[in-house]
C-alpha cells in the first residue's frame, strides 16, 4: 500500500505493507538510520521518535496507525534538542552509542514537558530506554545540565 508520511518536515511516500512498523519504514525505505532497532517489542526505546512531538516507540507502531508529524534524531531541533545534545557531548554520555538516539529523543520530549525535572522525573521518563552500557548516571546529569542551560537561555 502507498502511505504518505510527514517525516522531518517533508512529505514522503512509501509503498509497504500496512503492518510494517514505522521503524523499518524510516530505516529501510527512507534511509534515516539514526533510529535504531533494539528489541522490536517496545521494551528498550532504541527506536524512539517523535510523533507530534510525543516520544513513540517506532518498532511497535504500524505505519498504518501513524497520525501526525514524525521527527527523527536526524532533524530533532529547537532549544531543548540543542541543549540535550550539547550536554550529551559535554558529559561524554555515549559509550557504544547505539541506544543514544532513542535516549535523546525521550530526553528532549521530557524537557519540553518539564523544563526542570527532578531525578525522579528523569527516572520515570527515561525508564523505558535501556542502555546496556549503563550510561544512566551521565544521562541523568546531562539532562539536569540541559535543563540548567535552558533556564539560563530563557
Amino acid at each position: 500500500m502507498i502511505f504518505t508520511l510527514k517525516v522531518n518536515g517533508l512529505d514522503r511516500q512509501v509503498d509497504v505493507d500496512e503492518d510494517t512498523p514505522l521503524l523499518w519504514v524510516l530505516r529501510d525505505d527512507l534511509e534515516l538510520t539514526g533510529t535504531k532497532f533494539g528489541c522490536g517489542v517496545a521494551m528498550c526505546g532504541a527506536c524512539t521518535v517523535h510523533v507530534n512531538d510525543q516520544p513513540m516507540r517506532s518498532c511497535a507502531l504500524p505505519v498504518s496507525a501513524v497520525q501526525g508529524d514524525i521527527t527523527t534524531i536526524e532533524a530533532v531541533a529547537g532549544p531543548e534538542a540543542k541543549a540535550v545534545q550539547a550536554a550529551w557531548v559535554a558529559h561524554d554520555v555515549p559509550q557504544c552509542g547505539y541506544c543514544q538516539s532513542g535516549q535523546i529523543m525521550t530526553a528532549v520530549a521530557l524537557l519540553r514537558e518539564q523544563p526542570k525535572p527532578s531525578d525522579r522525573d528523569i527516572d520515570l521518563a527515561m525508564n523505558g530506554n535501556i542502555c546496556r552500557c549503563a550510561t544512566y548516571l551521565r544521562i541523568r546529569s546531562a539532562i539536569h545540565d540541559a535543563a540548567k542551560s535552558l533556564e539560563k537561555g530563557a
Binding site: 535504531k36 532497532f37 522490536g40 517489542v41 528498550c44 552500557c133
Partner: protein
C-alpha cells in the same frame, strides 16, 4: 586486494592527501613482548596515522570501538606525542589486516581481554613520535632552519623569526623524508593529554549524539537484500525439512534457502524478511540437541563438584585442614546461570561477493578469524576477502567468537543466494537471546575452615562448560586439562591461605558458551569474595581489616581496598535499613575494590543505592573513560547479578527479549563514585575489571542486613 601495505602503497594509494610512517624498529622491539613470539612479525605498520592537507590527524585504530573507548584512547596517545591540538584529531577503524594491525598480546588482529590500551600504549606513542619527527624535519627543511629550532604546540609548528605553520602544510615535504628507526618518546612529565582528566572529549560523542554514527545494521548499498535466519529452537538441533511456500507468498520475500545454521529468508527489507520467517514451517531434527533444562544441569554439575576434579592449584593438605578438630566448617554451593550478553545492537552485518572476492562490513571483533572463515565458506583465498570493521553497538564479549559463527552465517547467506549479490544479515533480539554463546552455567563447591579467628582451609571445586574446547584458542587456554578462564581468580585468590585447593571439571553440552564481560571473574570473583566474607565473619573479623591481614603479598590489591574504604568512609554509621559490603578483584592486570550500599526494597528486591570503587589500572590514559567504564561495568554487574538468567527447559530458553531477560534500567542504577589510584605502571585493562567486585559487594551487603549471601543467581528470580 588485501596485500601487505608498503610505505609506497600508502603514499600513492591514499592519493596526494595522506602520509604514512614507517617504523619497523620500534615495532619489532614491542613485538618481543607479545606472548605469540613466533607469530607474524608486525611489519610495516605505516598506516596508523594519516595527516590531511587540512591538518586533521586520523588515527587508524586496530581495536573495534564498541563503547570502551579505543578511538579516543589511541588518538590521545598519538595527539600527545605529536603535540597536536585535540580538535584536529579523528579516529577510524583500521581494516582487517593482521600483518599490520595484530593485537601485540594476541598475535592476531582482535579486541579482547581488556587489552586495547595495554598493547597499544607504546606502539601508538611511537607512531605519534615518528609523525612529529617527520613534521619537524619537513618544517626545518621548508624554512631552511635547523630541526632543533622548531617547536610544536597545540598543532602549530613554530620556527625562528615568527614562522608558523600547521601540519597539513608540510605533508608534501615530509613525504620525501626517510624516517629514522627510532625516536625518543615524550617524557611523562610533559604529557598534555595522557592522564590529564577531561583534557580530551570522546572523539565519537558527537556522531553518537546526532544519529550519524553508523553501526553494522546501517551497512548496505543499493540493491542489498535483507536476510534473517530461522535457527533451531534447541541447541544442537538441525533442519530436518521445511516448507517455504507461505513465506514466499509474503510480499517482499525474494528467496528462502537452507544454510548450515538454519533457514535463510531473503527479502527486499527487514520487515518482509521477519514476516517471511514467521511464515516458515520447519521440522527440526533434535537427535543431537540439548534436551536438559538448566535446573537438571546445575544439579548434575553440583553432584560432579563433589568429585575431586582436575587440580588447578593447591597448597598444604586440604582434606586434613578441613577436618581440623575444633574448627568451624563453612560450606556453600554456588550456581551461576547462563547469561546472554545482549549488546544493544543485535548481531548482523553486510557482505558482497562477486564470485572471486568478497567485502564484509560488520562489527568484527576478531578480523583474524572472520576473514579466513568467510574465505572458507566462499571457497576463495583469504586475501580475496576484505573485512572492514565498523562501530558495534556493544559486545561485552559477544562479537569475539573463535568459530566466527556470524561471519560464517553472513558468508553462507551470500553464498546461498549466489555470486553477484549483496546481503545484510539482521538478527532480531529473540535471535540474540536464544542464540547461545552464553556465559556458561557454572557451579562452585566451596569449603572452608576457621579456627582461632583464622582461615585455615579453603577448597573451591568448579564445574561447567569450557568455551575453549574445540576452538582455535584451546591450546592457549587449556593447560593440563584445566581451562585457565574457568579458574582465573579462583586458583589464585589474593589471600594467604595455609591449606588451599582449586580444581575444575569441564562439562559438555551443545549449548554454545563464550566469554562474557570479565570472563571467569564473573563467577570466580563472586564465589571467592562472598566466601571470604563468610569465613571472615565466622572468624570475627571486619571485612576490610580481615582481608588486609591476608593480603600480605598483594600491595596493589590492598591499596585499592584501603582506598575504597577511605572513599566510602567504611566503618562509619550507614543510614538505617541499609547495609554495606565490600569486595576486591584483580582482573586483566588491574585491581578494583568496590563497596556497595544496599537496602531491601518494598518489593523485597535488593536495592543498590551506591557503589564506591577504587581502581588501579596503571596509567589511566583517559581518566574519564576509566570512570565511564567502571560506572558502566557496575551497571552491567548490578543488572545481571540481580536479574540476569537464561533458563532452559527441555533444552529451550524460556526468555526471549527484554520483557523477560530483564535488563538494568535507569531507576535501578546506583550512584557511583570512582577513585583512580595514581600510577606510573603501564596501562592495564579497564573495560572489564569494574564488573567482578560489584556482585559480591552487593551480596556481602545483604549479609549485613541479616540476609544470606545469595549462592544461586540471579538474586531476583523472575516470576
Amino acid at each position: 586486494m588485501n596485500a601487505p601495505l608498503s610505505r609506497r602503497a600508502i603514499l600513492q594509494g591514499g592519493g596526494a592527501l595522506v602520509i604514512g610512517f614507517l617504523m619497523p624498529m620500534g615495532i619489532g622491539r614491542l613485538a618481543a613482548q607479545a606472548p605469540a613470539a613466533n607469530g607474524p612479525p608486525p611489519v610495516d605498520p605505516n598506516a596508523f596515522i594519516r595527516i590531511a592537507p587540512d591538518s586533521t590527524v586520523t588515527v587508524l585504530v586496530k581495536h573495534i570501538e564498541f563503547g570502551q573507548g579505543p578511538f579516543t584512547g589511541l588518538a590521545t596517545l598519538v595527539a600527545d606525542e605529536m603535540d597536536a591540538d585535540w580538535a584536529q584529531m579523528r579516529a577510524e577503524h583500521a581494516p582487517g589486516d593482521q600483518k599490520v594491525y595484530a593485537n601485540l598480546f594476541m598475535g592476531m588482529q582482535g579486541t579482547g581481554g581488556s587489552t586495547a590500551m595495554a598493547n597499544s600504549y607504546l606502539q601508538m606513542r611511537k607512531a605519534g613520535a615518528l609523525a612529529r619527527w617527520m613534521l619537524v624535519q619537513a618544517a626545518a627543511k621548508s624554512w631552511g632552519v635547523k630541526p632543533e629550532q622548531i617547536t610544536i604546540k597545540a598543532g602549530v609548528i613554530s620556527g625562528p623569526g615568527g614562522k608558523q605553520g600547521k601540519f597539513g602544510e608540510f605533508i608534501e615535504t615530509a613525504r620525501t623524508l626517510t624516517p629514522p628507526q627510532d625516536v625518543p618518546l615524550k617524557d611523562a612529565g610533559k604529557f598534555e593529554f595522557i592522564g590529564k582528566d577531561r583534557s580530551v572529549g570522546r572523539v565519537d560523542s558527537l556522531d553518537k549524539t546526532t544519529g550519524k554514527a553508523d553501526f553494522s545494521i546501517d551497512q548496505w548499498t543499493p540493491g542489498t537484500l535483507t536476510v534473517v535466519v530461522a535457527h533451531s529452537p534447541r541447541f544442537g538441533g538441525a533442519v530436518a525439512s521445511f516448507d517455504a511456500s507461505k513465506a514466499l507468498a509474503v510480499s517482499g520475500v525474494v528467496a528462502v534457502k537452507q544454510i548450515p545454521s538454519g533457514v535463510a529468508v531473503f527479502a527486499t527489507g527487514t520487515w518482509p524478511a521477519i514476516k517471511g520467517r514467521k511464515a516458515l514451517t520447519i521440522k527440526w531434527d533434535d537427535s543431537k540437541a540439548e534436551a536438559r533444562g538448566t535446573a537438571q544441569m546445575a544439579q548434575a554439575y553440583l553432584a560432579k563438584a563433589k568429585e575431586p576434579g582436575i587440580q588447578a592449584k593447591a597448597t598444604g593438605d586440604i582434606e586434613k585442614a578441613l577436618a581440623t578438630p575444633g574448627a568451624t566448617l563453612v560450606e556453600a554451593d554456588y550456581v551461576f546461570p547462563y547469561l546472554a550478553h545482549a549488546p544493544m545492537e543485535p548481531l548482523g552485518g553486510y557482505i558482497e561477493w562477486d564470485g572471486k572476492t568478497a567485502l564484509a562490513r560488520f562489527g568484527s571483533q576478531f578480523p583474524s578469524f572472520d576473514q579466513p572463515a568467510i574465505a572458507g565458506v566462499l571457497g576463495i583465498p583469504p586475501e580475496q576477502v576484505k573485512v572492514e570493521p565498523v562501530l558495534a553497538g556493544g559486545s561485552f564479549g559477544r562479537r569475539a567468537t573463535g568459530d566466527a559463527h556470524l561471519a560464517v552465517e553472513l558468508a553462507e547467506c551470500v553464498k546461498a543466494i549466489g555470486p553477484g549479490k549483496k546481503v545484510r544479515l539482521t538478527w532480531t533480539r529473540e535471535d540474540d537471546i536464544h542464540g547461545g554463546y552464553y556465559r556458561p552455567l557454572m557451579v562452585h563447591r566451596m569449603r572452608g575452615a576457621v579456627k582461632d579467628g583464622k582461615i585455615i582451609a579453603w577448597s573451591d571445586t568448579i564445574v561447567g562448560q569450557s568455551f575453549a574446547v574445540g576452538g582455535p584458542m584451546e591450546k592457549m587456554m587449556i593447560r593440563n586439562g584445566v581451562d585457565a578462564t574457568m579458574v582465573e581468580g579462583s586458583s589464585e585468590p589474593p589471600y594467604k591461605l595455609p591449606a588451599f585447593r582449586c580444581a575444575a571439571t569441564i562439562e559438555q553440552s551443545p549449548v554454545t558458551t563464550l566469554w562474557w564481560r570479565s570472563v571467569g571473574h564473573t563467577h570466580t570473583g563472586y564465589a571467592v569474595e562472598t566466601f571470604v566474607d563468610r569465613l571472615l565473619e565466622a572468624a570475627g573479623k571486619d571485612p576490610v581489616a580481615g582481608r588486609l591481614e591476608l593480603m600480605t603479598d598483594q600491595p596493589r590489591a590492598a591499596a585499592v581496598l584501603k582506598a575504597v574504604a577511605e572513599l566510602a568512609k567504611w566503618g562509619e554509621p550507614v543510614p538505617a535499613g541499609r547495609g554495606r559490603g565490600v569486595a576486591v578483584v584483580e582482573s586483566f592486570n588491574s585491581f578494583v575494590a568496590e563497596i556497595a550500599e544496599v537496602s531491601i526494597g518494598e518489593d523485597g528486591e535488593p536495592k543498590v543505592h551506591k557503589v564506591w570503587a577504587a581502581v588501579d589500572c596503571g596509567i589511566a590514559v583517559n581518566p574519564d573513560i576509566v570512570r565511564a567504564q567502571v560506572e558502566g561495568g557496575i551497571g552491567y554487574a548490578v543488572g545481571h547479578i540481580l536479574y540476569g538468567e537464561v533458563p532452559l527447559e527441555a533444552g529451550k530458553p524460556t526468555v526471549s527479549n527484554f520483557n523477560n531477560y530483564r535488563s538494568l534500567r535507569i531507576m535501578e542504577m546506583p550512584e557511583v563514585e570512582v577513585t583512580i589510584l595514581p600510577s606510573s605502571a603501564p596501562p592495564t585493562g579497564i573495560g572489564e575489571p569494574g564488573v567482578p567486585p560489584c556482585g559480591p559487594a552487593i551480596a556481602n551487603a545483604l549479609a549485613r542486613l541479616g540476609r544470606e549471601r545469595p549462592t544461586i543467581l540471579p538474586m531476583v528470580k523472575s516470576a
